[in-house]
């Protein structure tokens, strides 16, 4: 069992409250999973010539030293904004290949530092512990943004560590949270590795994120990638997926994992249970429904 929440704002006036709104939702899902919790938040996109990377280090990490190493190693100005044992770094990168080079340099040269997200707007913070602890540690309530996903985990398929926590991101600005268990993830991990997708863990949900990254990389739209996922991924799942400008929800055809969607003029919310949605302003007037099995629900803002 796990608890997942997603919130996509339609009314820009609410963007300053995104962190608080998502935190209130995630705390309600605490008893669906006590092992670890995490949040992916989309805000403050960097310009087309830069890349934003969330780094995660050990509790005693020295971000100032890391910043110096990055500046020296990458040979350019890099900004590193620490947030507990995570930090958001922004570096110059004119294209995807250059972003990948930077990620590759970090993976090869910085011991004990892992990348939780890479893109222009996404940031991912995740840790062992209860949602409330994780929310406080990373000051999620103070965060603004356009959309966000959250997860609280009760592990069934792989170990309880920070690396195994959700959300998982395996591609630019893409992340996924999952309630359920996949049965053919080992096979797909092998295949996706041979296609060049990088994985950090043996977790089944990371494979689902990698699968979407692979399909999107081949030119599929998010909806097309999810349609293929219904055919290729075997198991139980409710997925919530975030992209730079959008948000999608998908349940497997058997649909034994719960999900509720709600929409008002101001926001779209998904959650494992209505309890989380009840925390949102004006939820009593929301249109509320249970997503159909094997049907893709997606929202995307117009890219300016």
């Amino acid at each position: 069992m796990c608890g997942i929440v997603g919130l996509y704002l339609k009314n820009p006036a609410l963007e300053q409250h995104l962190g608080t709104m998502l935190a209130d939702m995630l705390v309600q899902m605490t008893d669906r999973g006590p092992d670890s919790a995490g949040v992916a938040i989309y805000h403050d996109p960097v310009d087309a010539k830069s890349v934003k990377i969330t780094l995660q280090g050990p509790d005693d990490v020295d971000w100032i030293a890391i910043e110096s190493k990055l500046v020296e190693g990458l040979g350019q100005h890099v900004s590193v904004t620490p947030l507990a044992n995570h930090a958001v770094m922004i570096a110059g990168a004119s294209d995807a290949a250059q972003s990948d080079d930077i990620a590759g340099w970090i993976e090869s040269n910085l011991d004990n530092v892992k990348i939780t997200s890479l893109g222009s707007a996404i940031e991912i913070f995740k840790e062992k512990g209860l949602p409330d602890q994780v929310i406080k540690k990373f000051k999620i309530r103070n965060m603004h943004g356009t959309h966000a996903l959250g997860h609280t985990r009760m592990a069934t398929e792989s170990a309880v560590t920070t690396e195994h926590s959700h959300p998982f991101s395996t591609g630019r600005d893409l992340c996924l949270v999952h309630n359920g268990s996949l049965s053919n993830h080992n096979q797909w991990r092998d295949r996706l590795r041979s296609e060049g997708i990088r994985f950090q863990t043996d977790n089944d949900s990371e494979v689902a994120a990698g699968y979407l990254t692979w399909r999107l990389g081949q030119g599929a739209t998010l909806n097309q990638a999810l349609e293929n996922a219904i055919k290729d991924l075997d198991g139980f799942y409710t997925f919530a997926v975030g992209t730079r400008d959008g948000f999608a929800v998908l349940r497997d055809p058997i649909a034994c994992k719960p999900a509720v969607l709600a929409e008002t003029d101001d926001w779209v919310a998904m959650s494992s249970e209505y309890r989380a949605i009840a925390q949102l302003p004006n939820s009593e007037n929301a249109r509320i429904w249970e997503p159909d099995p094997a049907r893709i629900y997606s929202w995307e803002r117009e890219v300016k």
Partner: protein, 225 residues
């Protein structure tokens, strides 16, 4: 009239009150349910319980005698194993509502999701809208009335429960077949629709039930074991 405000009071306080006889014969208002679990579970006496809002998992489970109305939507496992009394949902119900229920009347005025009436054992269920896949799976007895459509595999491995469907099933499950509507069935259905307060012409419904081909071992299948 007693009121329980679940914003302040634990669900357990409400349920303990419903387990005892002190409130028998009374009306109970439950406000601010906020999607909480197990609201009004295990009620034992003739009370009228009105829940003003949406509830989470296992609302009205194991109900005996009480008349419980949810003025909102219900999460998974509504009225699971109900014994008697009635449960009404003004909105929609999530998956496996009325599962294993032995008696009483469950009314979902909106839609019910997957596995509605799974393994029902004598309950009557009336759904004003449509129901999801695998509904009435292994349903043993009781009646399931659906005024809309039914999802895949309706009545798979059904025993002696009766299904009345006004719309169309996406597919019928193994051993579930359409059966003729005799006068007895029209009368039975009319009575159920009346009790549920839902107006439809019983002649618009089709009846489904067990072909009874799974009841005995078929020697042709011996190779499968």
């Amino acid at each position: 009239m007693r009121e329980f405000d679940l914003q302040n009071a634990e669900v357990r306080l409400l349920n303990q009150a419903l387990h005892g006889s002190d409130l028998a014969g009374q009306s109970i208002e439950v406000v601010n349910p906020g999607g909480k679990h197990n609201v009004a579970a295990g009620a034992q006496f003739e009370t009228q319980v009105d829940i003003r809002g949406h509830v989470g998992y296992y609302c009205a489970g194991m109900n005996q005698n009480a008349r419980i109305t949810v003025h909102g939507n219900a999460g998974p496992g509504l009225a699971e194993n109900m014994m008697s009394g009635s449960v009404t949902v003004k909105g929609n119900a999530s998956q496996y509502c009325g599962a294993t229920a032995h008696g009483g009347l469950l009314i979902v005025e909106g839609d019910a999701a997957a596995r509605c009436g799974i393994s029902m054992k004598g309950v009557d269920i009336v759904v004003g809208g449509s129901i999801g896949h695998m509904s009435a799976f292994m349903a043993q007895s009781g009646r399931l009335v659906i005024c809309g459509d039914a999802g895949e595999s309706l009545g798979d491995s059904i025993y002696e429960a009766r299904i009345y469907l006004r719309g169309e099933p996406t597919s019928l499950g193994t051993d579930c077949i359409e059966k003729p509507m005799e006068t007895e069935h029209i009368e039975e259905l009319k009575d159920l629709l009346n009790k549920a307060g839902i107006k439809h012409d019983p002649a618009e419904f089709k009846r489904y039930g067990s072909a009874r081909k799974l009841y005995n071992f078929q020697v042709d299948n011996v190779g499968a074991y």
